[in-house]
Amino acid sequence: MTGHPPKKPPILELRNVGKTYQVKQGLFGKARPLTAVNDVSLSLSRGEVLGLVGESGCGKSTLAKILLGLEAPTTGQVLVDGQEIGDQDRLSLARRIQPIFQDPYSSLNPRKSIFDIVSLPLRVHGIGDRTQWEKQVREILDIVGLPARVMNTYPSQMSGGQRQRVAIARALIMKPEIVICDEPTSALDVSVQSQILNLLGELRREFGLTYLFISHDLAVVEHLASRVAVMYLGRIVEEADVAGLFDHARHPYTQALLQSVLTPEPGLGVPDTQLGMAYPNPIDPPSGCRFHPRCPLATDHCKSHAPRPIRTEQGLVECHLYDPESQMYKNEAA
């Protein structure tokens, strides 16, 4: 059920979104611009799971904040169901888009009971009264696989997996359409991670949810996502459906990322990705193609010329090797 009809209007759309921060270096240093998100266009159709992968500092979390309305983009537009986010008030946006964060230890208020935490969205939106809240909390806890008796306990009395279920319950109690999952399982143990991934998969099917699934774990992304976008230094450098990306990665960065996945298969050894090691400083991005200092295939052309996004039916890729007008174009139909 990973296929999605092609021409449904997107439920969430980013049009040339950019976010620039002014960063001071040192106490008296002059502020310099840091482009965290650079001209990103993405769209999500209803019911699909878009995986967003990339190294720390590439801008994935900034993008998530923009989608949640927690940060305003410097340029471009974010549209939910064709309506711009900026035109909607925070509350109505929160009914449609909800987050699940990485660390269930810091994202739940330790002084509030589970009932308070999960029912908070209902109270903020002024929906129903106490008996209705209790009924709804009971229902949603059941859906995420927690017994109703946890309502009166506190986060400190729960395990990491249970806390993440609470975070999911809180995100879903308003029946949102879109859930932004920012590394939802990376703080969890392996046996708990698989439970949460199964739960997220079931909830998506049951409620027709749309996920933006941010993760650095490519094996998890491959398992859950229907489409994948790869981000590097604020730009989407490749985007394709999950089979295309994992079977025929095109961008050299995507290829290196895929090679770095360590599957539990003994005897294969640790791969040599041939990636230059240093992730560049986003305040001082490299000239030309931003990936060129680490790219094993880079030439002088890459140092001086930024590649343009190439969109084909295989998806999007931003690399001179795939630009028919570039001198580096290699005509591989693969």
Binding site: M1, T2, E55, S56, S159, G160, D189, V190, S191, Q193, S194, Q195, L197, N198, G201, H216, D217, L218, A219, V220, E222, H223, L224, V242, A243, F246, A256, L257, Q259, S260, V261, L262, T263, P264, E265, P266, G267, L268, G269, V270, P271, D272, T273, L275, M277, A278, Y279
Partner: protein, 331 residues
């Protein structure tokens, strides 16, 4: 047979807590030869970090450590004085911690921190120590090594800091390195590079390494030997290829089923899970600790659990081959 560099028998760690004693590690045995990599794999709270701290003699005073034997190249670690341990640590056995952000001192330069152990343990001068530091920084792949010596930890990225930690551990050419989740805080691309580096350096210097991790992918790729730890016990040990190809303890098999395998696990299918939670280890702990989550648990699992297996591949379970064949037959 070569005499192992490190030999541990019946290591037990008890922690006094409010309501009694927490039996955090219970009777674990392992041997490690020179040049060999042992991976201890387990989930949080399984006791894997405590085990490594026990070997290094770094447990806090309130924690009780006992062992029938803990022998490091002829030195009995169970009787070693603090002075002996200090002479060993940093010089002959070194540790790499998980968080490169917190385990470097922010107030000292990289150079000071790198040369400290060498100046302490070996009769070398400042110049020689500096030269060694530069040599090792280059070896771990840090460019402009000389200029890094005067930098402070906050001026380096996470990946670079972890490399500095590794270089620091290698300063005195230790015979044993214990790395506790050395790549968990890093990006996947950096993780692969750091693991490769550790692996190559280990081979080059004939170092023994204990690598502690929760990541079965890492284990499969770098381990010679694997020790699977659950709730304070080693439930399965053996050569990496055997443990992964013939996982015999139900817990080991359960863990392997939890991870999606690119190209093998069907996309979007349900992943395996291990229901239930880790039991409390406070008070009297008897029988198999995994029985509360095991689908084959029966009354006999409350009693003494035999150790089975042959040829270095061992596991603790009352069921013959941990019901592996049974499972394969119904699959």
């Amino acid at each position: 047979m070569e005499k192992p560099l490190l030999s541990v028998r019946n290591l037990t760690i008890d922690i006094p807590v409010g309501g009694g004693t927490l039996h955090a590690v219970r009777g674990i045995d392992f041997d490690l030869n020179r040049g060999e990599t042992l991976c201890i794999v387990g989930e949080s709270g399984s006791g894997k970090s405590l085990t490594s701290l026990a070997v290094m003699g770094l447990l806090s005073k309130t924690i009780r450590r006992t062992a029938d034997r803990m022998d490091f190249d002829g030195t009995d670690l169970t009787r070693a004085t603090p002075r002996t341990m200090r002479a060993l640590r940093g010089a002959r056995m070194a540790m790499i911690f998980q968080e490169p952000m917190t385990s470097l001192n922010p107030a000292y330069t990289i150079g000071d921190q790198l040369t400290e152990a060498l100046l302490l343990h070996k009769p070398v001068g400042r110049e020689a120590a500096r030269a060694r530091a530069i040599e090792l920084l280059e070896k771990v792949g840090i460019t402009a090594a000389e200029s890094r010596l005067s930098q402070y930890p906050h001026q380096l990225s996470g990946g670079l800091r972890q490399r500095v930690m590794i270089a620091m551990a290698l300063m005195c050419e230790p015979e044993l390195i214990i790395a506790d989740e050395p790549t968990t805080a890093l990006d996947v691309t950096i993780q692969a590079q750091i693991l490769r580096l550790l692996y190559d350096l280990g081979r080059e210097m004939n170092m023994a390494m204990i690598l502690i991790t929760h990541d079965l992918g890492v284990v499969a790729r770098v381990a010679d030997k694997v020790a699977v730890m659950y709730a304070g016990e080693l439930v399965e040990t053996g050569p990496a290829a055997e443990v992964f190809n013939m996982p015999s303890h139900p817990y080991t098999r359960g863990l392997l089923r939890c991870i999606p395998l690119p190209g093998k696990t069907e996309r979007g299918s349900k992943l395996g899970t291990i229901p239930g939670i880790v039991p409390s280890l406070v008070g009297d702990v008897q029988g198999c600790a995994f029985r509360t989550r095991c689908s084959y648990a029966e009354a006999a699992c409350h009693g003494d659990i035999p150790r089975q297996g042959s040829g270095g591949h061992a596991f603790r379970c009352i069921h013959e081959d941990g019901n592996r064949h049974f499972e394969e037959a119904i699959a």
